[in-house]
């Protein structure tokens, strides 16, 4: 089971670089998501890996085979990969079984009986035994999706590529299929590249996530890494909701903006340098006056502010609070039991460990 190594990959359309100097490594058996907004180059990257596109610079290696470089591109059919497309790309003129068996035609080492056995087996795994002889047009969206999955898995590819495979499903089915794909990945253990623009999907499915922006990978890590330790504004805002506070490191472990002084857990701050903090809305606690003592004893930052807006969402109250003595407005997700009036003054507690300084504060 080989992994995938991408080095300095660049693809241009005219003057516009869709992918620019992308470096990425996928370990054997790992599922890595390429996550980013539209136009970040994630689909282009996937199509470069598939061999549908030729790079202007850089290389794509699978194991010890160099599959793509500006000089040579191994055609898709010789890459021992499989791909699940956004449109599913099921052939309407072939039955479900015909679609699934197609890739096996090119596996000369398999006997006819072996092929039939494999098709039966995969149909069972994706629970489509009864639809074997139906045509794709006669299936529901979810079933079509499963046929696409089966068609890709049955050939036992070295690398599996998925291009936003869930984007055409309705919300409920989409959530269900996330777990399904993760389950299949754990069962088959195929090295997988998964393209999506949905951060929740990426977090559920992936071993690691590469966040792409402007054709480059801006940060790569596990879902937890990205959420807890974003390196840039872009990642902090793209993965989950957050408050960004621009300030200056006034002394070791302290960031100040106007009248707001926040202690941060991280030690490596250059005193005098500007720094941006990311504070997740649910990490900010609204405290009653009698609790203030306890909270300060814990070493939390204590702030006071005015409620500008509070929306009851059922499982939480989403509020926006203007912090006293500064222009900072924080978004806070509070438990639903608390009720506020607009204009009410409240106290906020933020643990130093919840104030994450961004390493690349500028981007």
């Amino acid at each position: 089971m080989p992994g995938v190594t991408i080095k300095g990959l660049t693809k241009r359309y005219g003057d516009v670089a869709a992918v620019e100097g992308l470096d990425l490594q996928v370990k054997p058996g790992e599922l890595v998501s390429l996550l980013g907004p539209s136009g970040c180059g994630k689909t282009t990257t996937l199509r470069l890996v598939a061999g549908f596109l030729k790079p202007e610079a850089g290389e794509i290696w699978v194991g010890d085979r160099c599959l793509s470089s500006p000089i040579t591109v191994v055609p898709p059919e010789r890459r021992r990969m499989a791909m699940i497309f956004q449109s599913y790309a099921l052939w309407p003129h072939m039955t479900v079984a015909g679609n699934i068996a197609y890739g096996l035609r090119f596996k000369k080492e398999l006997s006819k009986a072996d092929r039939e056995k494999r098709v039966k087996e995969i149909l069972r795994i994706v629970q489509l035994e009864l639809s074997e002889s139906r045509y794709p047009g006669e299936l529901s969206g979810g079933q079509q999706q499963r046929v696409a999955v089966a068609r890709a898995l049955v050939v036992e590819p070295e690398i599996l590529l998925l291009d936003e495979p869930l984007s055409n499903l309705d919300a409920n089915l989409r959530e269900e299929m996330r777990f399904e794909i993760r389950r299949l990945h754990e069962a088959f253990g195929i090295t997988t590249l998964y393209v999506t623009h949905d951060q929740a999907e990426a977090m559920v499915i992936s071993d690691r996530i590469a966040v792409l922006r402007g054709g480059r990978a801006v940060q790569m890590g596990t879902a937890e890494d990205l959420f807890q330790r974003p390196r840039s504004r872009f990642v902090a805002e793209f993965i989950g909701k957050t408050n960004l506070v621009d300030g200056i490191a006034t002394e070791p472990g302290v960031v100040t903006r106007g009248g707001v002084r926040l202690r941060v857990a991280s030690a490596d701050l250059t005193v005098g340098a500007p720094v941006a903090l990311s504070i997740r809305p649910h990490m900010i606690e609204l405290v009653a006056d009698h609790q203030i003592g306890t909270v300060s004893a814990r070493g939390d930052n204590l702030l006071r502010g005015t409620v500008q807006r509070a929306s009851y969402l059922g499982d939480a109250v989403d509020c926006q609070i203007q912090v006293e003595g500064s222009d900072v407005i924080l978004r806070v997700v509070a438990p639903p039991g608390l009720r506020f009036r607009q204009g009410e003054t409240v106290s906020l507690a933020v643990a130093p460990s919840a104030c994450i300084p961004l390493v690349e504060s500028a981007v």
Partner: protein, 567 residues
């Protein structure tokens, strides 16, 4: 090492393999379009090796040619207006109201669309000729009058006959546009307080206005390029249009340079009009906005339901019932102008047409041969072109697409003049063979075929092919096993389109034929000179029968209405 061997062939796949295809396709298009048009332009400005504008001066100074030019303008303008007058209300009725028998109307519209206009013109000679015309005789019998009711051999007669076969273009354009405008756009205006008339005036009509204008242009273009109807109706009335004049310039001794000089303005006019129409439609983006999902409510006609249907049927009577009826009568009677009695009944016309008259048999064989050849080669070529342009396989693919659509601006007569000049000299001496007709038909049918093929390939998602590639199939194998089966019905439909276009072609054939290379339309034209109306009717009905058989085949293949309208 093994990997290097795998990599190597892929380098050949890139440019090298597609280069010959590119060169061949480009060459084919050049031979079909650039060569004839180039010669046409050259001959129009050259005199014994030196450049001159003398031919143009002659053309524009000659009062007869001026008259022909003017007649064409009148004809085209009035046909455009008349087509709007008939096409727009019928389109609105069939797209928006609870008119009964809509399917029937659409079916008849399709029939009128595929009826060769020159056949309609013949039928109308029998219906409304001043002396023996059926309607005029009926009128005289009923009223005892001496004078005929109508004389089809006149400018107004010509306009009428051309219009009843041209208005379907307007109908299709408007009906399809109305289909795209969801009722909620109109309802949004109603809820804001606009009355029914105000809604029509401020919402519906402005939205279809570009389609109406471009339908007008389309009708004008048809009338400009038409040869058959003017030749049948205008010549006996003693006047020419541009197309008949160009044809007349080819009579012995052929004045090729004059014909060429006369062709260029017509070519420019059609090109300009089409450009204008494209501009209009290009800006029309808003007419299709929010189209597909929207509901359409039918507007109740109330009392006017049946009168409206009657009006529609009256129009269809002019373009279908009466002409087809008189053709059938002529085919089955000894003397077409006499009442249909047992004594007058005969099948001899069929016998004569198919077995005795030598040039009909040859013409039928030629026509079918050319139809099949052009359709096969044409469908193959446009499929290749459409595939290349859709998948952007080679650089410069846009040019191929443009060239394939370009002949749409070339009127048949003009194309024929160009081909005549280009292929009566070495290296390609095609004149006098079926080859030159083949080239003419291929060029003429290219735009229709290409649009059809383009739609076919646009409907096949590239991911369907990529899915095959990534699972291990090579490019050719994917073409064979995935693309071809999916495109097949579309390609056969393209074949049908081209075939129908070829068997009814007259305006280019009339200039390019020689005694051995006559086709059905030309023979029909010849038979008129001999007064063989029975044989004309038989041949005409045969042509219609073949056409309708093909249309039915095509509709079942496409699974939709021939006119592109949703059911």
């Amino acid at each position: 090492m093994a990997d290097r061997l795998q990599v190597f062939p892929s380098r050949l796949e890139g440019m090298d393999r597609s280069a010959p295809v590119w060169v061949m396709a480009a060459l084919a298009l050049a031979l079909l379009i650039l060569l004839p048009l180039g010669w046409l332009a050259y001959v129009s400005v050259s005199s014994e090796g030196s450049l001159t504008l003398a031919h143009y001066r002659k053309v524009f100074m000659d009062p007869r040619l001026q008259k022909a030019l003017w007649n064409t303008v009148i004809l085209a303008f009035w046909v455009g207006l008349a087509s709007l007058a008939i096409g727009v209300p019928m389109a609105w009725l069939s797209a928006r109201t609870n008119l009964p028998g809509k399917r029937l109307i659409r079916g008849l519209m399709m029939a009128s669309f595929v009826t060769p206009p020159f056949l309609g013109a013949f039928a109308w000679v029998m219906l409304a000729g001043p002396n023996a015309g059926f309607l005029n005789k009926l009128y005289r019998n009923l009223t005892g009058a001496e004078e005929p009711l109508v004389n089809i051999f006149s400018m107004s007669g010509l306009i009428f006959v051309v219009a009843i076969y041209t208005f379907p273009y307007v109908f299709i354009m408007i009906a399809n546009t109305l289909d795209l405008i969801a009722s909620d756009l109109e309802e949004a205006a109603s809820i804001l307080g606009a009355g029914r008339l105000q809604v029509a005036l401020t919402i519906t009509i402005p939205m279809v206005a570009p389609a109406i204008l471009s339908g007008f242009i389309l009708a004008v273009l048809q009338a400009l390029a038409l040869f058959g109807s003017p030749a049948i109706l205008a010549l006996p009335a003693g006047f020419h249009t541009i197309t008949t004049q160009i044809w007349a310039l080819f009579h012995y001794p052929p004045k090729t340079e004059m014909a060429a000089a006369f062709s260029i303005p017509l070519l420019l006019a059609t090109a300009l009009l089409l450009l204008l129409q494209k501009k209009l439609l290009g800006r029309r983006g808003y007419a299709s906005v929010g189209g597909k999902g929207g509901q359409r409510r039918e507007i109740p006609l109330g009392f006017w339901r049946y009168p409206a249907l009657l009006g529609c049927l009256a129009v269809m009577a002019c373009s279908i019932f009466l002409p087809y009826g008189i053709l059938a009568k002529a085919a089955l009677s000894r003397a077409w102008a006499q009442p249909m009695t047992w004594e007058n009944f005969t099948l001899a016309n069929f016998w004569f047409t198919f077995f005795e008259y030598s040039s009909t048999r040859l013409a039928i064989v030629n026509t079918l041969e050319l139809g099949i050849m052009t359709a096969c080669v044409g469908a193959g070529l446009v499929a290749l072109l459409a595939y290349i342009t859709n998948r952007k396989i080679i650089p410069g693919h846009q040019i191929l697409g443009f060239l394939a659509l370009a002949p749409v601006v070339i009127p048949g007569v003009v194309l024929a003049v160009g081909l005549f000049i280009a292929y009566t000299r070495p290296p390609l001496l095609l004149y006098g063979t079926l080859g030159i007709l083949f080239v003419a038909y291929l060029t003429k049918e290219m735009p229709v075929g290409y649009s059809q093929s383009d739609a076919t390939f646009r409907g096949i998602h590239p991911e369907l092919e990529e899915a095959g590639r990534i699972l291990g199939a090579g490019r050719l194998r994917v073409l064979r096993e995935i693309t071809a089966p999916l495109a097949l019905s579309g390609i056969i439909a393209t074949w049908c389109f081209i075939f129908i276009g070829v068997i009814r072609e007259l305006s280019a054939s009339i200039i390019l034929f020689t005694p051995n290379t006559k086709v059905m339309s030309v023979v029909i034209f010849d038979l008129k000179e001999e007064g063989q109306f029975g044989a004309i009717a038989v041949l005409g009905l045969f042509m219609l029968a073949v056409t309708f058989a093909i249309v039915v085949l095509m509709q079942s293949l496409l699974g939709r209405d021939f006119l592109g309208a949703k059911e």
